[in-house]
Chain length 121, copies 2
DNA sequence: AATACAGTTGAACAAGTAATCAACTGTTCA
DNA sequence: TGAACAGTTGATTACTTGTTCAACTGTATT
């Protein structure tokens, strides 16, 4: 049993199309990449964070501005910016009392554009 | 107050960059599209569903095959396929006792490719 | 030094969710 | 007709998560 073979113990059925399963398994992305991919989408799976990212597509913004834009508290925004930063999706810079956030990834725009193409059909 | 203006009541700060906030607000996508986009990403934000989608990139598969591939029960897979189907991401066809699932969206591949590009950096 | 304000943080609570289990449907085959 | 099996479904449970609240840090201003 190699690393590409998960625990089949829990599968409660006989394999009908053994050839297809073997073929698909061989070409599946690395388990680690799949978990990371799900985690990335999980970050985008919240409307507050989606709005923050869309806002940052246009301009870097401080926490107060985002809070005002979305009609939410600074605390709520700060918590979500922390999640986005931990995922390396945004970066920030300090200028006096003000902390400015901006996007830190070139793939995000493409992902969002494709997603918006799906939902606006 | 038009429909583009959310409740600022809950914002606990003065607006520092009023011009930027106004500009960004004007170009934000529709609220409804943003909520749908978050919901779409939420569907992808689970490793089981990510694996199912990646498997279906290669071939249509029945529930048993997917269960065997991922080492999970038919029930668990069926529940997740239901979520994917409700989001119009997969479709199915019945052939005797067997139900075959396949992808039902052309944007998904692009979204996943961009996502994988991000996580495998 | 003291005030003001942008921002962060941790605890707590409510809401949502994925896997499990048992019971069920629908189709095939003997 | 009845056994066998692919698949579905609803309830339950354990777990995750977003917002709130209060207390805190850091910087600028007077």
């Amino acid at each position: 049993m190699n690393s590409n073979t998960p625990d089949i113990d829990k599968c409660d059925c006989t394999i009908i199309h053994e050839d297809i399963v073997a073929e698909v398994r061989q070409h599946m992305p690395e388990e680690e990449n799949l978990l990371d991919l799900a985690d990335l989408f999980k970050v985008f799976g919240d409307s507050t964070r989606v709005k923050i990212v869309c806002a940052l597509f246009q301009s870097e913004m401080c926490v107060c501005d985002i809070a005002a834009l979305l009609g939410m508290t600074k605390s709520a925004i700060s918590h979500q910016l922390r999640v986005l930063k931990q995922s390396k999706l945004v970066k920030n810079r300090r200028d006096g009392k003000v902390v400015y956030y901006s996007l830190d990834d070139e793939h995000v725009k493409n992902i969002f554009d494709q997603g918006l193409a799906h939902v606006s059909e």
